[in-house]
Symmetry: C2
Subunit: 434 residues, 2 copies
């Protein structure tokens, strides 16, 4: 390409990785086109708080155009990518065709049902605001339904929550659901008792939060159990139906199964014609490009990066995505020759998870903590990372309010279709109640 | 009924009237069952702010159960009423059958399309949170779509907003849309210009805000025009299609028509077998009961009350509904004999409407004001009336933030179906752009 011409970098996905890359390329001499299906960047670590009615969608999401408004070289397109042609260097969207010099792919991942896609209907995952609102809807509606069928088996099943997978999302969901059920919902439903509500957290391996040090896992498990969560270790889900989940020989009747296990990368990656791992992630070179295409980078949850110092793949969380985003943006900005690229190095800044209203675990390697102090660290860090000052302020207010009152602020059933569907089901199947 | 037995009052609808009645009957010796399709009370006067992305649904709604939690004699049911049998004194819901001694009907109204129900598809109204989120979705998506078809006729149509009906809702919507388009959206879409955006407010009669004194109407109209709203008086809508609206001989191409004209009371009222007016409202006696059934009361937007001192019917706003709710609750509590009931008297406490960020009109009868001072009164009153301290505080913060930054906080496109439907339509019909 002639040196005087401006190069175009297309970024697919406005999550942590894609947004970091776009910001790093802002106000440089590279044309940047950021394509996302949604109009907003989502702060995914707090998504479970929308699902459990503690925060509103607007508290954890910000329009991409507003975030990047000051950068005249960055153009945001709300569009769905249909196809990528790496040989012709172009991206086909439903709005048209975009040509690129550099491509940064950050499309993220969805949950993996390990080949049992039919389970998704009965056990939704939690990846975007739609998922979160759907889960919130179910969580609130199920108490309404349960109250109308008191004393039946159906009531038990409506008040049984099964969370599959005990990574940070699963643990945070289980803790929040146990807490909101106990402290908020039961106060609104005087006919229901604490003993009617059951929260199960199912984990296939021998401990929860496997990416943390073992003592922290155990501490988190004790905190969950203190909130009334029934933690099942070494337990695999063998079937999910409309009626509940099968755990080997045991069947748990539940109308509220949430899937928080496994990752399956975006199906877009199949278009690249490059080797993928079992989770569908593109196996990338040390510079995050794909073999044979030094100008096509895959970052974040969609990338399988094997070149860490200890050989373990990077976790599917925000930190690696952001660091990769900054790294590849620098390669693009400098237009670094493939042979002169220093490999990507991940700096582990630690991990955190929270359990309920004021407990968390923090693992910074050199420093480990659990309990209230860890929660304060968790809260400070998460509030600081929210994109805008306004959201930071609002989320602090919401948390302070919830801490004092146990009244989370977003307990609204808005989508009438979902409850009606459940209700229809209930009226068809609860003859024992009539 | 034996005097020692507790009487049961069923209230249908948790809006301003129904909720006020329920609160007035709280902690008395009457059993109260409040039935609503939704789980929340909605502060409707601020609904247009959700539709224009200034507030989140959680800011203006509160679960009914939480509001009434302290009242052990009030039971909240989230359920849809299917049928009312006034002779058998029972209400049939999709959850079961509820018997009553007293019935307070407060089911509200929807917009009226004056017999042209097919228009609703292309010109949605604004009555509940679902409506508000749908309009927000369209408002935000239309700018995304417009940017992808710049220079075409379709772009003009996507950026033309037509609001039909210039009562408080229509005026507030028109002002807010003009302001958000100008100050917020255009900054995020650098390729679009102010002159591309058109906001029309269509009113069949000779002035806007007819329930206000004429000088205030004119002042409000000038404020709207200063914001760039094209106010069309004495103009009737003769057709609405997918392509726009017909105003007599003129056709306005628009993808964003919002209906804020007319009221049509709940179809439930037909079950009562009592005379209805043209808007479907039950024509009530001086004590708000229906003829022949002294224990069946209809209040709020569903009631046609002709017994005012000057003979004009009551406006379909919160104040009459709340006053009626308190009045009938007192009749029920005291179990007043029909012959000993003093007629309901409406006390007009004044009316208010707001135009954009910091202008309003206030008409208290003895006091009239427009401009910033009126807006401060409007803001103070509306914040005070929000149900919970938490919401009051949050809404104040949101308004202060918007006032300073012009960045409303809820600009999220969450429901992917709607935009895709529009997009599909666009791609089918915009060959002039390809």
């Amino acid at each position: 390409m002639p040196s005087g011409q401006r190069r175009t970098a297309v970024i697919i996905g406005g999550g942590f990785g894609g947004l970091r890359a776009a910001k790093r390329l802002a106000n440089t001499d590279v044309n940047v086109i950021l394509i996302d299906r949604n109009n907003h960047h989502l702060f995914q670590p707090l998504l479970y708080q929308v699902a459990t009615a503690a925060l509103s969608p607007g508290d954890i999401a910000q329009p991409l155009r507003s975030i990047l408004r000051q950068s005249s070289n960055v153009h945001v397109m709300m569009s769905t990518v249909l196809h990528i042609d790496v040989d012709a260097r172009r991206v086909v969207c439903d709005d048209g065709i975009v040509a690129y010099d550099h491509l940064i792919l950050a499309p993220g991942a969805r949950h993996s049902y390990f080949g049992n896609d039919s389970w998704e209907r009965f056990a939704p995952g939690l990846k975007d605001l739609n998922d979160a609102l759907r889960i919130r809807e179910r969580l609130l509606t199920t108490f309404e339904e349960a109250e109308s069928v008191i004393g039946t088996q159906l009531m038990k099943s409506l008040l049984t929550f099964v969370i599959v997978g005990a990574g940070p999302t699963g643990v945070e969901l289980a803790g929040a659901i146990a807490e909101i059920a106990d402290r908020t919902m039961l106060a609104d439903f005087p006919k229901l008792r604490r003993s009617d509500v059951r929260v199960l957290l199912v984990q296939a391996s021998g401990r929860i939060l496997e990416s943390f040090a073992e003592p922290l896992s155990r501490s988190a498990q004790r905190s969950l159990e203190a909130l009334g969560v029934d933690v099942r270790l070494d337990t695999s889900v063998t079937d999910v139906t409309a009626d509940g989940v099968r755990l080997g020989s045991e069947f748990i009747a539940s109308r509220n199964v949430i899937w928080a296990a496994g990752n399956s990368a975006s199906p877009l990656l199949a278009d690249l014609g490059t080797p993928l791992d079992a989770a569908g992630r593109a196996i990338v070179e040390p510079d995050c490009s794909i073999p044979g295409y030094p100008d096509v980078f895959v970052i974040g949850d969609a990338a399988r990066f094997n070149h860490t110092t200890d050989g373990t793949p990077l976790p599917a969380v925000a930190q690696p995505a952001m660091q990769m985003g900054a790294y590849v943006a620098d390669l693009v900005r400098r237009n670094t020759e493939p042979t002169r690229r220093r490999p990507f190095r991940y700096r582990n800044l630690g991990s955190m998870a929270t359990i309920g209203r004021a407990r968390a675990i923090v693992d910074l390697g050199f420093f480990r903590s659990s309990g209230l102090f860890a929660w304060l660290m968790w809260a400070a860090l998460h509030v600081m990372q929210l994109i805008s000052f306004r959201n930071r302020f609002k989320v602090m207010i919401e948390w302070a309010w919830y801490y004092l009152s146990f009244q989370p602020g977003a307990r609204l059933i808005i989508n009438k279709d979902a409850p009606q569907e459940i209700r229809r089901w209930v009226s068809l199947n609860s003859n024992d109640n009539s």
